[in-house]
């Protein structure tokens, strides 16, 4: 598994920094809050982080690994899936770095490279529901009854809206992505057997 994408080569300038992984992960470089080279490892993000207080999640070490190009260690670790996306770190970061956005980019990268994600099966259901009904959360019988009592229409999303969403999804690759996720889940099942 190690270095199978060839990212772990030493940087051309001879430093231990690795720009190829960094460039891949940090796409929106024009925003100052995405300039992670500004991180001076103060650890304020770890001190305030709710996930760090109850698990091994450590945003400071994750940033360091990204800058040093430790691709496999970051993407293969369960830690990147533990961020609460609460933005406490962002508003307290002295360099105003958008750590939740970095974590999200890492999650996308991990998924695309086939690192399995816990909970993928549940999310797949949400994704399929979005495609079929235009909303993430399925509408259950009990809620239908409540909506009626509250004087609301049973389903606020028209068939036409769902159809338009379907066209958009086809056009932008949602269907393919959902199928890809399904394959990942199947692979995992086979591995277990």
């Amino acid at each position: 598994m190690s270095d199978y994408l060839g990212f772990n080569k030493q940087a051309e300038d001879g430093s231990s920094w690795n720009w190829s992984f960094y460039d891949k992960i940090i796409k929106r470089k024009i925003f100052a809050s995405f300039n992670f080279t500004q991180c001076y490892q103060c650890g304020k993000c770890v001190g305030i982080c709710p996930a760090a207080q109850h698990s091994n999640f450590n945003p400071r070490l994750i940033i360091r690994d990204v800058l040093f190009g430790e691709l496999n260690r970051v993407l293969d670790s369960e830690d990147i899936w533990l961020c609460f996306d609460c933005f406490d770190c962002k508003i307290r970061c002295p360099m105003d770095l958008d750590i939740p956005e970095l974590i999200h980019s890492l999650r996308v990268e991990a998924l695309l490279h086939g690192y399995y994600q816990k909970g993928l099966k549940t999310f797949l259901k949400f994704g399929r529901n979005m495609l079929e009904t235009g909303t993430t959360v399925p509408l259950r019988g009990r809620v239908k009854k409540a909506r009626k009592l509250l004087g609301m229409v049973e389903n606020p999303i028209s068939e036409q809206a769902v159809e338009e969403l379907r066209v958009i999804s086809e056009e932008t690759g949602l269907n393919k992505h959902l199928d890809f996720c399904e394959c990942l889940i199947e692979d995992k099942k086979r591995e277990k057997r």
Binding site: P50, E171, T172
Partner: protein
Amino acid sequence: MGINGERLEKIPVNGSFYIFKSCVSSNVYPGIEACTLKILESLGISVVDTDQQTCCGGFTYFATISPEDTFLATIARNFSVIEGVASDMLVICNACFSVLHYFEKITEGFPDLKVKVNEVLSKIGRRYEQGKVGFWHIAEFIYKVREELARKIKFNLNGLKIAVHYGCHYLRSCPEVSIDSPESPTFLEEVMETLGGTPVNYKEKDLCCGSGWIQRYTARDLSLQITARKIESIIKEEADLIVVVCPFCLSVLDNAQIELETFELLYSRIPVLHITQLIALLLGYDPDKTLGIQMHTTPVTPFIEKLLENTIE
């Protein structure tokens, strides 16, 4: 930093609004939307509607189950739908608000993304133009009209202790458009005071509700530990009610209590209401037929019983 006067000034209080539909609100706690309608009605503000809006798409994107292009095109489509019916919308969910703001920030920074989403939208005969629809969080709108609401309420919050929870995806994730300081906001406490209540100052005010977007599904134990810390610190201050401004926070704080009790992480329970539900209740609307409290797993009746003693003659 305090209140952002410039933003407060801009929030429209007349004309007509579109209410942006949220998935958890529509399909778990429909009372939130119903209450928002009643509040606007009592203020004499008209509401327009359309059945063309879909889910904001934020959850699927941030759970990495949807590509970025789908996510951006879905939001752009919703904007283009809404600009046909209204020039301002009220958002009742933190996540929707945060997602709409994120979209505007990203497409402003990267104009090529705007071209890209419009290419996709052209397939369904639509077009997105930036800045045509203004969007405002229901909490900041309520803050602006708090005095008027205080004159209209039939019950007040005298003698009741209220714990407010701001949620993560509102002030903290959108500091560019936040009405109050993202680090130490106080505007919801001010609303509670205006309505006669006593806001409690609890230790874990800044802490996430425990949802963590996906942690409620992927790391249940971790999520419950955070929720327990949050609720415990509120109960310690002897609060009568938790008020939230996000349906997802409501869902977590309301549903997790029964689980926490099972794991013996919590020994008493506290009702949770969305701010729109609380205000509709104070305006005298029916708990079942407007608030939809039958959808809550933690009973709201203990709070309603206390409130009944506070009738305004």
